[in-house]
Symmetry: C2
Subunit: 497 residues, 2 copies
């Protein structure tokens, strides 16, 4: 198997959509639709104020004393100075307004927790660029894009809020985040327990590092979701790879493929075919992450239970190659053209500045080294082993940096985290990331909540009439824990005075 395949597949997997960010291949389409989407319009209606704080570009070094503007949002309609709390969203790899508007849970519980909502943007994403449009220029400018610097930003910001907002000083702060933001929430509580009384880490794959979990677990869950989506669905997808390979042997086959899949740019060589397969894999992964029980627009406008809808087109793995790929096209259309406005499907990786994409690609090449693999047996993908050396070389080519795969475990403890307290790890069982998450209680105060019918951090989304009971239960448990943390905080405050 050639190098480009591996590179593309790895990038595809390492940058799966959902909260991790919009994959590059989807960028062209999704950006067109974005501003017109109903979610986005709901967004603007949410009532928050936008603020900026000057942060040190480097919290851990003093030779450069440069600062940058970090953006954060505040919504305080329900906040009570008396007995209230602060819910602090630990922003992840994207524009914070997007997360703000896709974390309805915080808005839904603000009233009962008398909470101020704060959404902090992660450095190098959205508007919070340490070196403006030069931020992604080279590894020297990217040097301050690490989880440690991001956590330090959060700590400094909270101290600033407590100092400057009258009434906030003696209030408990709870960290909340999903996906990478969930990892940050958990790690924030671990490293700065003096600043947050607890953390809700939703769909946070904090164990998807090193050998903590098997590298195949992610793609196996994706496959399970498609098995569950309909009879023969995963088998049909598994069959599609060879069908594509057979078509790719001739120029005529490539032309047919390009037309059958309605690609914006025709496939012309083997590399294009690898790119196509990586893009397809990404699509199935993203569908698994956003397999929500109601129509919504998170990464793309999608119907309720989109995998079920997709699988209606993928019932037969034994038809001719041509028929099978035409069925795949129908399935793709569910994801890429639910609104009916796409004129073609674009698999090209754009190199335009989707900042989120660039930032996460760098992070995935430095600290966030999550091993992924497939064997084609326990999953529906073509087999790919995890090859750190190759991965490292690709990272060096792209960013002039080398990954440090052991570092995150050294820094944040891997599976040895039982001395910490007050962290909720929630995971949807449909979510491919759940395999790298904490799905069993560690102690009385490091608790796992699993949501059998949940995809990627469903619990953080706004309440919905079609929410399954299991997510309602999860949310109520989460609120129960948060209320306990808040009570404990005020009890110990009273003891002090």
């Amino acid at each position: 198997m050639g190098r480009p395949t591996v590179l593309l597949l790895l990038l595809a997997i390492l940058t799966p959509g959902a909260a991790f960010h919009v994959p590059p291949a989807m960028k062209a389409l999704s950006s067109l639709r974005w501003s017109a989407s109903s979610t986005f319009r709901r967004t603007v209606a949410k009532n928050y104020s936008v603020h900026y704080i000057q942060q040190k570009v480097d919290h851990f070094g003093f030779s450069a004393d440069k600062t940058f503007k970090q953006r954060y949002l505040i919504a305080d309609a329900y906040w009570k100075k008396n007995g209230g709390s602060v819910l602090f969203y630990t922003g992840n790899e994207g524009d914070i307004t997007w997360f703000c508007n896709n974390t309805g849970f915080m808005w839904d519980v603000a009233d009962q927790l008398k909470a101020m909502l704060v959404f902090a943007e992660h450095r190098y994403y959205g508007e919070s660029l340490p070196f403006g449009n030069k931020s992604f220029r080279d590894s020297r400018h990217l040097n301050f894009l690490t989880s440690e610097q991001a956590l330090a930003d959060f700590a400094v910001l909270i101290k600033h809020l407590k100092k400057t907002i009258p009434g906030a000083k003696n209030q408990p702060v709870i960290a909340i985040g999903g996906s990478y933001g969930g990892m940050l929430a958990a790690w924030f509580r671990m490293k700065y327990p003096h600043i947050v009384v607890g953390a809700l880490a939703a769909s946070a794959p904090i164990w998807h590092f090193g050998n903590l979990v098997p590298c195949g677990v992610f793609m196996e869950t994706v496959t399970k979701d498609f098995k569950r989506g309909g009879p023969n669905c995963s088998e049909t997808i598994r069959s599609s790879w060879d069908a594509i390979n057979r078509f790719s042997r001739t120029g005529a086959g490539l032309r047919w493929l390009s037309e059958a899949l309605d690609l914006c740019t025709a496939l012309t060589n083997a590399q294009d075919v690898q790119r196509l397969k990586a893009w397809l894999s990404e699509t199935w992964i993203n569908l698994a992450m956003v397999d929500y029980p109601y129509e919504c627009d998170f990464l793309q406008p999608l119907p309720a239970w989109p995998i079920k809808v997709v699988c209606q087109y993928l019932k037969n793995p034994s038809v001719s190659d041509a028929q099978l790929l035409q069925n795949i096209f129908q399935a793709l259309n569910v994801y890429y053209n639910y609104s009916g406005q796409a004129s073609c499907l674009n698999i090209s990786e754009t190199t335009t500045s989707n900042l989120g994409t660039q930032g996460w690609s760098y992070q995935a090449c430095t600290e966030m080294i999550m091993p992924f693999c497939t064997n084609g047996i326990d999953d529906m993908f073509e087999p790919h082993a995890w090859n750190l050396r190759e991965f490292s070389d690709d990272c060096f080519k792209q960013w002039s940096v080398r990954p440090r795969p052991a570092w995150i475990i050294t820094m944040y403890g891997g599976k040895n985290i039982s001395s910490h307290t007050n962290i909720i790890f929630s995971n949807g069982e449909l979510d491919p990331w759940s395999g790298g998450g904490v799905t069993k209680d560690i102690t009385d105060t490091l608790v796992a909540i699993t949501i059998p019918d949940g995809a990627h951090h469903l619990d953080l989304r706004a309440r919905n009439a079609f929410d399954p009971t299991t997510v309602l239960l999860a949310r109520s448990l989460e609120v129960k824990h948060m209320k306990q943390w808040i009570r404990n905080f005020y009890a110990s405050l009273r003891k002090k005075h």
Copy 2:
């Protein structure tokens, strides 16, 4: 009061001797005596092996992937692979062999804890220089001298030891340190509880930052020690400053002073006089820190209870200026010439490379911002207010960096550390640093041990026939806690398997 005074006094206070390091002014004399001292000879007899590990120069950034050799020492004569433990000395600002030989406590308890002793050198000290002899060249080279980088070195080293030393993997590691090293031990347990099961933080002034304690507390304790040293002793020292000032008005006075104090270099101007007073202040401070109950050679060869000896010469504050300063000279001789070999007293700050001095001076200008002040009433010194702006300007002049006085509290929690566990804070009540230390229990597992007759981390020194009962009691309590941590570790290990 002119700028130079403040600068010198601040530097003097910020770089007090003892475990913090040998103050610049003493360098010339002490380096002469060092190799001949009996402590040093005992040192060499201690049986350890010297090792090196390649560490990333920057754990928190990926653009430079440079490494350097960190030195560490291992003594495993008493180590048991079965049921043993690892005592890990979190090296502070100096050559690690010096700390290794001045931390007899670890050697004394190795047998009963079946412990391997590891002494890790702090980056930028001793042989562990990230950029060799260029390490102190400028702020760019010094950029990686922070407590966070040092803790990361320790974490990486321990993971390395567990991986490479057969039998070490499933053993509990306890962090032990004194002074700044004690702060590191405590912070290490706070930030890396997955790596060390507990910490003994001896004489660690973790609260000597910001407004956590009054800035005068340090010098008040020094003064108390001299009050306790003999009648009129602190009053005599208080009178000496004006006596010096009066002598300094004329050239003849300066000449007399230079001769009376047997200075190696004659005083010629006001700046020299400020330097003299700073040097005197340092001397009294150092005496307070090393006011040990037996003859020893830590910073200097000294008699038992050196302040008592010094105070024999400082009984009368009301004699003539000349007599008073001649008495001061006698007192100084106790500290600088106990061995009788010094031909003159040298107050000049050398600019030769005492690496420890340079490194700490930089740290004291960046992260380790400890406010000090005197008022001349509650203490025996000339009044000096704490002036952050002036301090910052001086730091910028010297190192091209500015202090970030709030950072350490943001990072390590200030007084809000009750969610951590398994840290012993020990403090000698004679030790000026005790004012910035934790001297009352915070929780059942964050315990304070105070030693009424102890100076700077007396408990970490080797057992001695003249040890007061209070330090024996402290050490046995410390061992009791450590044994408990070790038992808990093995109990939870058994539960896992």
